[in-house]
Amino acid sequence: MSDAIVERDRALFGPLSETGRGFYLTVGVLGLAILWGAIAYAVQWSEGLGVTGLHQPVSWGFYVTNFVFFIGISHAGTLISAILRLSKAEWRRPITRMAEVITVMVLFIGAGQILVDLGRPDRMMNVIQYGRYQSPLLWDATSISAYLTASTFYLYLPLIPDIAILRDHLGKRRWLYAVLALGWRGTERQWKILNRAIAIMAVLVIPIAVSVHTVVSFVFSMTIQPMWHSTIFGPYFVAGAIFSGIAAIIVAMGIIRRIYRLQSYLKPIHFRYLGQLLLVMTLLWFYLTFAEYLTGYYGNEPEEMKVFWSKFTGPFWPFFWAMVVANFVIPMVLLVRLRHHAVGKTVVASAFVVVGMWLERFIIVVPTLSNPRLPFPEGQYWPTWIEWGELAASFGVFILFYVLFVKLFPIISIWEIQEGRDVGLKEVEERLLTYLPDGAADAAMPEREKVLT
């Protein structure tokens, strides 16, 4: 197999072997954002949460918004990749890895938001030592740690054959790749183990992912606060998570395709398919939002209506309507026809969705807290540079991790592309034949078992 492997997919090895000026520039810029966040956190650590814009009725703000947002983005990955794998969608091959990486990186950042949000981070271990399962925060802790474990492993499994390829062909960082390849030699038994494990993980990861954002929503819906206490929140959050997740993958794909010149791997067709998926999620998101707000409006419960109007016409209207535009209007306009300029349109729509979903999280967290039941002065929340710093650093860390991952591991699965060429083509043909009513097709093809494609 010598260097034919490298030769055929030379483009995929590019980011691993060559490091350009752009890389250092990016790392530098991200480093600055992270530095901003680090300084902000140091100030917050020594002064207390008072350096943020939080106050009496609005005791949760940016950090909790970020928490929900990032955990939401994490559904990108694993869920999409698992669903595509299980449904044997052949076009998944170049995008699964990208999606899985997003999941793992972003989960760390999402969980980190809670730590940033704590008034006493030094007592963080109390949650481990004295945690109590009646609190939805512990549901989160459990669910997220399960998801983190599962998605990390689910990212790692399909990486193993690729790492072995790097170990044998790259000539750099041999020790790292040798360790992580787990002695992979591509024997039949190893393939069987790997394929079986990937299949199990793909099944396992879906319910875990659904549980994660469901319990994240429970943090709000388990309280009796107006516009939080809603049974729709579980599915609403999960749908929103998948929505923002797909958008994040598309943005990542667009950027990577451009920077590393992977146009021949990430084709407009991929963007078109994902764009259609995004369109479906746009509609689903709109449907759930509509159902949620109409229920509140029709019920006309005074406390609910206070929050409702503060979003529609009150102090939060810019955020609310920006969210509607970014999450619904713009994607609808851009995604309905994807025959031409599929890449550009989907990437732009996705960028808006990412922003819109952040606003959605914000619009869920803050207005409810700003409108207390008792005649308190209404809360006006505006973040300080500390919170902006944490937001910048969160994105900075996410992108930095992503960039470093692309430096160290192939961002498009080499072996899966090769498998697509060598086995997939024939297999799809065979599979198609089995779909057809003509019985002759079965007889014509020798029965061949392939655990998972």
Partner: protein, 225 residues
């Protein structure tokens, strides 16, 4: 066994803030200063809300309502706040991690957060109450340190706790005697009698939190909250 409760007669309340000041002094509630106050960070365990209507202005002193089914304790991840067997919703500052989930869950906004380090230990403070550090939640505890002391005294004297041994600072300070404090389970007590009065109502009754702070007002009082 007792179930501590409070009755506040709104028709007697003049909004004089004596209860607020007594509470501040008794519980070392920090004065956050004008800058923090402007940012909406006043800490006031007992807070006098104003209700203005066409006919008149009414004041509504709001301590922690000490719900019998408190929404805040359910969500605490570390058992820093819980309903104690005598019905007091406890707040253990030393255990609190400052996640503010209880603040988000409390429908009465009765929980307060130490956004900064508002005070150090020093002269002029009540030595019976600890000074809260930054980053933890605090709230009205029905002056439960007074219960600790009263119980200790009774125990040393070899007797049971009797009515009047334990009263909160706000009830003591109220010049119009609008605040009555005592054991709701003691049928004969003033507080139990007033709580059964037809004028009695509770804040957010429909939420099912079953507060142990009752308010007395003429029946139109039911209209609000």
């Amino acid at each position: 066994m007792a179930l501590w409760g409070m009755v506040i007669d709104l028709d007697r309340c003049t909004g004089c803030q004596a209860c607020v000041m007594a509470c501040k002094a008794e519980n070392n509630v920090p004065a956050v200063g004008p800058k923090e106050a402007a940012r909406g960070r006043i800490i006031s365990w007992m807070h006098v809300l104003r209700e203005e209507s066409e006919e008149r202005t009414r004041f509504l002193p709001r301590p922690c309502l000490q719900c019998d089914d408190p929404p805040c304790t359910k969500v605490c991840p570390v058992y820093a706040t819980y309903r104690n067997p005598e019905g007091i919703v406890a707040q253990i500052h030393a255990r609190c991690i400052g996640c503010r989930f209880c603040m988000a869950a409390c429908p009465y906004n009765a929980k307060y957060f130490n956004w900064l380090r508002y005070q150090k230990e020093g002269p002029g403070q009540n030595p019976d109450v600890s000074v809260r550090p930054k980053g933890v939640v605090e709230k009205c505890t029905f002056c439960h340190h007074r219960l600790q002391k009263a119980r200790e005294r009774a125990r040393a004297e070899g007797r049971d706790l009797v009515a009047g041994d334990y009263v909160t600072a706000c009830a003591e300070a109220c010049p119009t005697r609008a605040i009555t404090f005592g054991d709701l389970l003691d049928e004969g007590s003033e507080v139990a009698r007033l709580a059964r009065s037809p004028r009695a109502f509770r804040l957010g009754e429909e939420l099912g939190t079953r507060p142990k702070v009752f308010y007395l007002a003429e029946m139109e009082g039911h209209r609000r909250v």
